[in-house]
Symmetry: C2
Subunit: 337 residues, 2 copies
């Protein structure tokens, strides 16, 4: 947990301290998202949209779950990582890609790089969860372990980039990443019409801002809601007060939602989000267990925030058609006979 809290501060500053080699400098357009989708399609799964009669009955609404837990590398992050790599020139690609992360971005970048046949270099804190270290290794990523301090992670990534000339891919403060994540909501709207609300979790805001752009272009009447743990409510406060708050000592089991917004994600979310709704830890746990039990699919806590929003606010969603993005499934549940 300490490691994760450190990571937040790092991610918040990294976008500024490290220069990307190729930039996409303007807000992604409809055509950018369409082009990105065509480009990444051969390398990602078109994930299914599932519904659960029993959960619908329980909550008196019509919920459609977009299952990015079934995405390659177990999370939506694969979309952005693949798009980012495919956006690099041949020249840039030859040196591979680099990032630092103890989470799903690391695994996704390593897998996307392997599929696209370029090397990947990941700075990972020594105390990153073993399951995530194993994933990156399994995907052939070159891990450099570092201490879980801001200084050491910066130093380590800078060292990697200097040595390898690999292209740094920020987890969310990058329009190529945001464009990739936007393809998830685009797929929803291709399959479903008349969605009243789309709910996506918000951490750094890559998925939420991508979802907002896709909604603007492909389903303009849908309202987009960000789901955030009460114990990590920096995005809620940032949008309320119109300034980016850093995420200080977040306290939640939703380990994918600990980062604060970046400049690019803040701008898009500020202009396009209907609401950010915070949820209690209790609700996140209940929502996760409910999905495990009724839908028989494994989702991680960050994904459960979207259902927690509906559970805490049934009046908003009564009789509505609601799309919920289950962002990932990288968790190791235990079995006790």
């Amino acid at each position: 947990m300490d490691c994760l809290k450190n990571q937040i501060r790092i991610l918040n500053t990294f976008g500024i301290q490290l220069k990307n080699k190729t930039k996409m400098n303007t807000l992604p357009t409809k055509s950018d998202i369409e082009t990105a989708h065509e480009k990444i399609k051969p390398f990602i799964h078109k994930t299914p949209i599932l519904k659960s009669e029993s959960i619908n009955k329980l909550l008196d609404s019509s919920l459609f779950f977009k299952c990015e837990n079934f995405q390659k590398a177990g999370a939506f992050k694969m979309r952005g990582a693949t798009n980012a790599i495919l956006s690099l020139s041949k020249n840039e690609l030859q040196n591979g890609v680099a990032t630092h992360s103890s989470g799903n971005h690391a695994g996704a970048l390593a897998l996307a790089a392997r599929i696209l046949n370029v090397p990947s270099y990941i700075a990972m804190p020594e105390n990153a969860p073993q399951i995530k270290i194993n994933a990156v290794k399994g995907y052939g990523g070159n891990i450099t372990f570092c201490k879980a301090t801001l200084e050491d992670r910066e130093r380590t990534l800078n060292g990697i980039v200097e040595k390898t000339s690999a292209a740094f891919i920020h987890p969310f403060d990058d329009y190529r990443i945001i464009t990739g994540q936007a393809t998830c909501a685009k797929e929803i709207y291709e399959e479903m019409k008349n969605i009243d609300y789309l709910i996506a979790p918000v951490g750094g805001g890559g998925l939420l801002s991508g979802s907002i752009l896709a909604t603007k272009y492909f389903s303009e009447n849908t309202k987009v809601i960000g789901a955030e743990p009460h114990g990590a409510d920096d995005a809620f406060r940032s949008i309320r007060d119109n300034k980016i708050y850093p995420s200080v000592n977040p306290n939640t089991i939703a380990d994918g939602l600990l980062t604060s917004l970046s400049k690019k994600t803040f701008e898009i979310i500020k202009n396009g989000v209907y609401k950010i709704i915070t949820v209690k830890e209790e609700s996140i746990k209940s929502a996760m267990y409910l999905i495990w039990e009724r839908m028989k699919i494994i989702i991680e806590p960050s994904s459960a925030t979207v259902l927690a929003v509906v559970m805490e606010n049934p009046e908003i969603f009564y009789n509505k058609q609601v799309a919920l993005i289950l962002s990932g499934g990288n968790i190791s549940p235990l079995f006790k006979p």
Copy 2:
């Protein structure tokens, strides 16, 4: 566990001690299965067939998982229960249906009865798992609790049947049930051609014997394998020695596979199975965790036996097309942050 062991002895004798009201007395034909499938289709899910690139790579074979964990009531049992109820005459139906079970048959029968608008009466041992009691209650089944002894369960069910005139539906020693379970493999063959092997778990043998019949009628070149825990290998020994062994003190986490074969299932399996292969507890656990981790779906231990068979015998399945029935997903995994 003790409760489950008791249940085995009970199920083995029940078929004889209680008379069903309407019998289907001859081996189900191709047309019986086709008719049953059409009848139950509106009330069951056509479950998806999933594959996992990473598991295929790991095991050098081509595996197709038929996901009955996504079936209504969380298990294939819904197929047989629905078919059995739909096979009763109006007259018989008016008094509802009865069974005893602490497992998936109880939940499936209660749900099928609710959907078809008839009452259901379930004798459940007081020490049945809370999650299964909740499922039956949630589906509107009328539970009569009894002690976990053979005598008390018989007495309780007989009491229910006398009082209500409900029709007793045996979990597997019943051709209507076997015919219903056969629709699962039928769906596989409708979607997939050239399946070399079909693997189904074997407990009482309802699913395995249904799968054997469907294979005979719809994919005659496929070899059908039964997967059984080494710690509950009565079916393996029964087929080897050509006599039904009771299941005495079975010891396995696969709680759906504790019963022994019945007369009807034994006859079909004896004549149609390619092999019954037993697997170690270690392999069942590994297979279950592997499916949870790589496929992000929740399956119960009984389902994991089918993958355990492939893991323990890779040489048989090398480069083969293998369909595996994931029989159910009724388990409550724990989350430890």
